[in-house]
Symmetry: C2
């Protein structure tokens, strides 16, 4: 069998490595676990797993449309945002097309684009930030998709509402802007884009959200896209019928209502961020101020070696070699105890 | 945005319709629910859903390789067999290629093929059975995949080991045979193909199995493919990293060990089959002898109208119009009580 030409140089995703018993600060999960309301919903739903899930995600779409003040027709639900990315690329990328994103961002944008025979162009990044002008200048007549991660994984930086709106004006109408806001709920800055309001002005925007981060449901796989109905209809043609499992649907519906849990998660993150900033300052390490639930910090030594040492000490973080950074790690902001343990391990690895 | 040309005439899957409170014999689920061992595993795993699933499905692949006496490298796990089909097509179908299957079979073969720009060719069916010779004669130099559903959904018929082996001899080496055995565990005939042994003789075979049917985990979405490692490696290049949720992995591992539940499910199915055959005989209805957990029966009237009437009476079945049969329904074999209720409803609809 001859594999498709476009897959020949496809590099598989390298997930965060695990060590049983170690504290996991490697994958930007919620250190508080899942919403208790979601846990209750899961327990109540176990009895129905022998039946196929609702292929239309009707209840979940209703709950989401209510929350965002939109119609169900504006929403497409996927087996994690990972799948939503594949649905988007599957709808629009013909072989020979291209997509544009930045250096040092989430690798699955490239995966989805290449899966359908497209190529990815990367704009340079400046001090951990997306350069929207540089991204706009890479768009050509074959550019079907532009992927913007805001806040960006793995740098934690974000761009503002004004910056996004200035960028949108430069984008051709037949290029779809994919705004991945997986970490949006952790953002504190008041000038963060009100991205959903862009749908009133532009046809060519889709916003991605997930239940894997602040809602604490990474293991269940639920993400969704918000766009004009025409875009959703196109994506639905690329979706397999029962893509979102029934427990994920039940838990996501419940989690959406649990504002206490979301607020608590946000508070724990804010507190941890302050503590980690102070610790990195004390250690003289450069880092980016983050709008997410993780921090990129430069440790001035080989990140993979440091990762191995820290894992041996009992904490896993993410070395950023696969993102092209040899001396940087990404650490998820944990509970106060987890953060303190991480800092002690980091100090040991740095010989301080 | 311009949708991809190959998606223009893509018809979305039409799932079995539901009515709250009605007995559901529409989707070939296990009427006994799920394995109690799987239920226990689910309860124990709920606490970990805030963490990403094991992207490599290591434990589940180990369990499957032990069961089938194969290596983990022979196995690819998907978000249901639906996704495994997409991974296969994603690995091998270039625009302009084609695939071959039969009339009146599972629609997702066509979906997966079209998603990557391929076209599907359909061999005629004879009295509910795959005509393997007709299928072989449709293979040309552009045929990358052949989809065989054994036992076949929705007719329930199957082909033998000898028939399959004779067919394999006619297939070019660079055409991959996809043997979908979703219903295999219900088969009683002793000459059913020992498909896994084909891997010793042929490079170009992949066998699909699922946890959605006899294992009772349709809502969780787990299916897998078994093939030579070279095929699995190609498919892995098209797989998103966390495609199988963590609860599905835990439940599938446990279900695999629950031979009591599988045996009980098989016995209930066998009993129901005998009862339904006798009932259809009494009513003078034509049906196909089934090797699966459902029966296709011709009811000599419009199947959609009959479906509506039966739903009003409290049972849902599958009208087969979307499979091209206007006067046939597919009924899942249920518990004795469900089967009796279904027969009473059918008699009313037939005016008997």
């Amino acid at each position: 069998m001859k594999i498709r030409v476009c897959l020949k140089d496809m590099v598989p995703y390298s997930p965060g490595k695990l060590k049983p018993g170690a504290i996991k600060l490697a994958s930007n999960e919620n250190p508080l676990g899942m919403s208790p309301m979601a846990a209750d919903a899961l327990k109540q739903s176990i009895g129905s797993v022998s039946l196929y899930p609702d292929g239309g995600c009707v209840k979940l779409k209703n709950a989401l449309s209510k929350k965002h003040n939109l119609a169900s027709a504006n929403i497409c639900v996927g087996n994690g945002s990972d799948e939503v990315l594949v649905l988007i690329a599957g709808a629009y990328i013909e072989p020979g097309d291209n997509a544009v994103t930045s250096q040092t961002t989430f690798s699955e944008y490239t995966f989805a684009t290449k899966l359908f025979g497209g190529t990815m162009k990367y704009a340079p990044m400046a001090d951990g930030c997306f350069q929207l002008d540089a991204i706009a200048s890479l768009i050509d007549t074959k550019t079907k998709l532009v992927f913007l991660c805001n806040p960006n994984n793995p740098t934690g930086t974000s761009f503002s509402n004004d910056e996004l709106r200035a960028f949108m004006k430069k984008v051709p109408k037949d290029t779809l802007i994919v705004l991945d806001e997986a970490y949006r709920e952790y953002v504190d800055r008041s000038d963060f884009p009100d991205s959903i309001s862009l749908l009133n002005e532009y046809d060519n925007v889709i916003i991605l959200r997930t239940f894997s981060k602040i809602y604490g449901l990474a293991g269940l796989r639920v993400g969704y896209g918000i766009a004009r109905p025409e875009i959703i209809t196109d994506m639905e043609k690329t979706r397999a019928p029962f893509n979102v499992n029934s427990l994920a649907q039940a838990a996501a519906c419940a989690a959406l209502d649990d504002t206490d849990f979301v607020n608590k998660s946000r508070a724990v993150n804010r507190e941890g961020k302050t503590y980690l900033y102070a610790s990195f300052d004390k250690l003289g390490l450069k880092y980016y101020k983050t709008d997410a639930n993780f921090i990129l910090v430069y440790i001035n030594q080989d990140c993979v070696a440091a990762f191995e040492k820290m894992m041996a000490l009992g904490v896993t973080i993410r070395p950023l070699r696969s993102f092209g950074l040899n001396d940087a790690i990404r650490v998820t902001i944990g509970t106060p105890e987890q953060n303190e343990f991480f800092v002690r391990c980091l100090e040991k690895v740095l010989g301080k």
